[in-house]
Structure formats: C-alpha cells, structure tokens
Symmetry: C2
Subunit: 341 residues, 2 copies
DNA sequence: CTGAAAGCGCTAACAT
DNA sequence: ATGTTAGCGCTTTCAG
C-alpha cells in the first residue's frame, strides 16, 4: 500500500507538499506543474491516505458510532436507514454496536466496556444513542465523557443533544382516529419502560382522550415490552375482561407490540376489528400484510435518524448540543384493524 | 484524555513499561510492585489506549467492515445479528455500510468510492460482503486489493472466502413438503438476479421436482426481486393463467417476495392456501402473523453470519480463505399458507 | 512556492 | 526488570 512518502518520492517533492495538494489545502500556493506531477503519481500508485494516521494527527476520524438495541426490530429500521443515509451523504462511516448481540455474546459488563471503549478510544468523532431503554445513568456517564452525543427517540434529564418525533401528537391522532370512528371506550397498551418516550406517548394518549371528554378505566391501561411477546402478554388481562367491561378499541404504543396484541386478541377468541379495533404507533410496509392489516400512525422516523446525524455533525464541529423535535406531521394509515362502531 | 505518557509519569516508569503491563505482554518480567503502581495510575486517570495510535503501530484495528444492501430486509436481519454477535464475542467492532443508503445519498460513483475507501484506508482489518447482488466485477476488485474478505450468502468465481447455507437443500425440502402434501403442479418464483445463490436455489428446485417425477411447465417458473413489489409482479402472470393451467403450489425463493406473492394472489382473486399453496425460502417471526400465516423454510442464517466472522478472523490471522457451507439442516415451518390437495 | 522538522499515541526491537 | 529508541503515516507550523 503506497504511502504519502512513496507519492512524494515519485513526484520528486516533499511529503508535506503532497499532503497539501491532496487535501486541497486552502493555503494552496502550489504550482500547477508540481500539482499535476503529484496527482499523477498519486494515481499511478493508487494512493489512499491512511485513515488511522490522519485521524491520529487531526483528531478526526469521520466515523460515527451508533448504539442500538437491535437491528431486527422492524419499528426501528427506518431510523437506522435515516442515519445511514445522512451519514453516507456527509461522507461519514458508521460503527454499529448492537446491544442485543452484546448480551448474547457476553453479558452486561462487556457491554458497558464496549460502549466506553467506543467513545473513549478515539475511534469515532461522536455517538448516536438510539437505545430508548439504555439506563439514564449510563447515558449520563457517556455524556460526561465529553464526546459529542446525540440521543434518538429518547431524552435524558441533564443531557443535551437529542432528537425525537412528536410522540404526543402521534398518540393524539391515533385517539382522534378512534374517536372519529365513534369509539368511546378506548384502552392503551403502553411501553413497559420508565423512559421519557414512554411517558410522552402515554401523556399524548391521556390528553387526547380527555380532550374527547372520555375517561379511560384504569384496567384498560396496560403495558408491555415493544415486542411480540410483550404485546401479547400485556393484552391478556384486557381480553379476559367481561364483554361489557371491555374497551372497544386499543391504541398500542409500538408496532411490534401491536402485532403481539393482534395475536393475543385472536387467541382470546375475539375478532379484530369487529370486537376490538387496534391502532399502532409506528408504521411499516409489512403492516399491510398482517392479519388483519394493521392501522398505524406513521411517524417521521427516517427524518429523525437523518437529523440525528446532522445534529451530531454540528456538535462535532463545536456547536452546542441541540434538542430537536421533528415537526413533520404524523399520519394515520388506515387499514383493516380499526372500524367504526 | 490521559495518554500512556501521563500514566507513565504518574507511576514513575517508562511509557514502554506501562504498555507492557497494560497489554499483558507475554514477556511480562515486570515486578509486581511496579505493576501495581502502573495499574493504579492507569485507573486513576481513566486511561484508555488510543485505538488509532495503536492501530497505526500494530496494523490491526480490531474492526470489521460489513457491506450490506439494506438493514431493512427482514429476510436478512438474522445474518446481521449473527455477524454482530460473533464480532462482539470476539471483541471486534463493525463498520456497517448500507448500500441502499449510499444510493439514496449520492449515486453509484460514491458507493464504490466509499467501499474502496473502507478497504483501503486501514480502518478495518477485513471485510464481510453480505450483498448478494453486488457486481461480481466489484467483488473481484475488492478481493484483488488484498484485504481479507468473506462473502456471505454468495459466491463469486475466482474469489475465495465465503459462507453460504445449503440453498439447494432448502429448496429441496420446500418441494418435498409440497409433494408430501400431494401437490404435483408446482411453480417457482425465483430471484431475478444472475447470482450464484439464485442459481443454487433454482437448481435445488429443479432437482427436487425432477426427483419427485414431476416436470414443471416453463410458465410456472418466474422470477422477481426479493421484495414485496418483486414478488407481486412476478406472480401476476401465474395468477392470470387459466385455472386448469395453473400450478397448485408455489415455492418462492425469498421471504419478502413470498409476502408480495401472497398479496398478488389475493388481488388476483385467488385464495391461499385453498387455490394455491405458498412456501417461502427463509423464515421470520412475523411470518406467523401474516394473512395467511406463511409456511417457510427456516435456514441457519444466524449461524451463517457468525461463521462469516469466524472465517474472516481466520483470514485476518493469515490463514487461507475458506469456503464454507453451513451444514445445519434447514427445516420447514408449517403454517397456514400450504395445505394438502 | 516548497521543504524541514516535529509530533499525534502507541508498540517493539534493542540495550542495559 | 526496565529504559531507550525508532517509527507507524500523516498534518502542520515554521523557515526559506
């Protein structure tokens, strides 16, 4: 692999001159003639600057770190996409650390070790934490290390640099959809997590329900992990309710959870949407192919991911960490799991 | 951020001694006393070795590159998982480059540029190409750069270092399942790609069908991209066939394609499985929740991903690039989209 | 307009 | 048992 020195030798100039030319140093002042010689030599040797050496010198790696719970969650792939797209557009590479894989591989301790290694060993210029349930404590620790940090789809008290969608608005339009359909007995399957996002979604639900003049019964409000099993488990108690005590519609705060809810309801012997309408937070292409096709609230998740990168890039350049709410309006995608009453 | 020098100063030893101790240099020969002093100093300063400096010196980054078409394809998430898990277990980080994001961001040229940068600039020790439809030409180029390289779920003539599942066997058991159910008119929705994998799956289909004494009509064999739209489009011509000319069962060579096929068939006014049985190559949790629940062939994709990492690690250590077929047996997961005739 | 020199933080061969 | 030295490949003053 050719180095700067090799190019310099071939072009018969000093390495520093080659560096200047190849970086397009603003203090150009290089004679076109030498410039051409250098370019030619560089091409001939297929020269590529060594990222490690450059990074060591400049303290910039043009690489971003991403901590994510799982690459598999369909509710999350849009965010990852947005991150990848924006990173690629900015010429940045991204190191992805999947928490689930870490746990599979080695246990909690190693996970923290790997995170801390990632942010401390100079490998990345900044970090995107798209891990809603990562301990606030750990997040605070990461933030204190002083590395540029952006939280996605979550906020942590005292930590700046975050981007979220308008979770409250998303919950609200879900409820408005159900109310518009004539439902007055509306339940909620929330996220079983003490996170800011969980609270915002639930708050949006409560506010919208209240605004419609409704008071949900407390046993219509349950929660579970945003997984198939979580949704299924969470809805069990509702399915067992006496028909006269049951809600007629459920808003589920996660996509995967909603699919679990669908399954739980079916196993409980009820029909969706005839006996229970279901609407989910977050959309996905596959929602149209479920049984029944799932009505969802589509959130601007791609944008959220992309903006996270932009915010991080700002922070890396020394600007203040901003907290952003994506203002793009969420939208109900009506499919077969909700109907009028 | 503390450096080796800082630790050395605090412990009142030479940096090289600190390095030895902290790396656990086999040529230990360090007095327990100084050793303790060094460890204490390192802890006190929260010392972390700089990965760039170390990599520059040792020519090892403990980082792997992964080129993947899209993180979104549910048929592929298991592989990514396997890769992440094995990488984490081996203490390696992984840089993920998503081709789709690259295209969204900038166009073909940039993609090649980014790949080549990734493999040439010393950032990663080796590369996993999990991109079935990446040009053979490009793959050959990458391989020629001399960087350790492992292909996943694909092979390229002349390039060594690959891991695939037993695609032929997967196709075969799909067909055996259908034949066992009494089907004798079996069609195939293949991958619209000139790839080794596409050929292996189709070959498995043809062989198994032949072994059952059947001869599929040529208009029962179609192909499309492994996407919803691809599957839907591919099956259109079959749906239009006169009932007496139609196959009674279809084997679809991709999961996403099969979901598209389901939709295409429904739109064509046919019932699955009553008028047409469908079985898909590759399984996913969500297949159980589709309409109808999709019968699939479960392939050892997690293993494939994990073994890719192991192979790559071998190659990085200087061993020969091996070509591996995961021998774990595929398995039919019977759900609602296939039935007896 | 170009070269010389220093140094980013680390490791490894060599010396003592 | 520890220190000295050189250098990985690059960028960036500073000279000239």
């Amino acid at each position: 692999m050719a180095t700067l020195k090799d190019v310099a030798r071939l072009a018969e100039v000093d390495p520093s001159t080659v560096s200047r030319v190849l970086r397009g140093d603003p203090v150009q002042a290089v004679r076109p003639e030498t410039r051409d010689r250098i370019l030619a030599a560089s091409q001939r040797l297929h020269y590529r600057p060594n990222a490690l050496a450059r990074g060591l010198r400049t303290r910039r790696t043009d690489t971003l770190g991403l901590i994510i719970p799982s690459l598999e969650n369909v509710g999350f792939s849009e965010v990852t996409h947005g991150i990848q797209a924006a990173a690629a557009a900015a010429g940045r590479l991204v190191v992805v650390v999947e928490a689930e894989a870490l746990e599979r591989a080695g246990g909690e301790g190693d996970a923290e070790e790997l995170y801390s290694r990632l942010i401390t060993d100079g490998r990345v210029d900044g970090l995107i934490v798209a891990f809603a349930t990562l301990d606030d404590h750990l997040v605070t620790q990461l933030a204190e290390r002083g590395i540029p940090l952006v939280l996605v789809n979550r906020r942590t008290a005292g930590v700046h640099g975050s981007v979220v969608v308008d979770d409250e608005r998303g919950s609200a339009i879900a409820i408005e959809h159900l109310v518009g359909l004539g439902h007055r007995r509306i339940g909620y399957v929330g996220l079983a997590a003490e996170t800011d996002t969980a609270r915002r979604r639930e708050h949006g639900f409560r506010t919208a329900v209240g605004a419609a003049g409704l008071t949900p019964r407390s046993d219509w409000i349950v929660s579970g992990a945003p997984t198939l099993a979580g949704g299924k488990g969470a809805v069990a108690s509702i399915v067992r309710l006496d028909p006269s005590d049951r809600p007629t519609a459920l808003f589920v705060a996660s996509l995967l959870g909603a699919i679990g809810v669908l399954a739980g309801i079916r196993e409980g012997g009820l029909q969706v949407p005839d006996e229970m309408s279901i609407i989910a937070f977050n959309d996905h292409e596959l929602a149209a192919h479920l049984d029944p096709p799932l009505t969802t609230v589509r959130m601007p998740n791609f944008r959220m991911g992309a903006e996270a990168v932009n915010l991080l890039l700002e922070a890396i350049e020394g600007q203040d960490h901003r907290d952003l709410v994506i203002d793009e309006a969420p939208e109900v995608i009506m499919r077969g799991s909700t109907r009028g009453i």
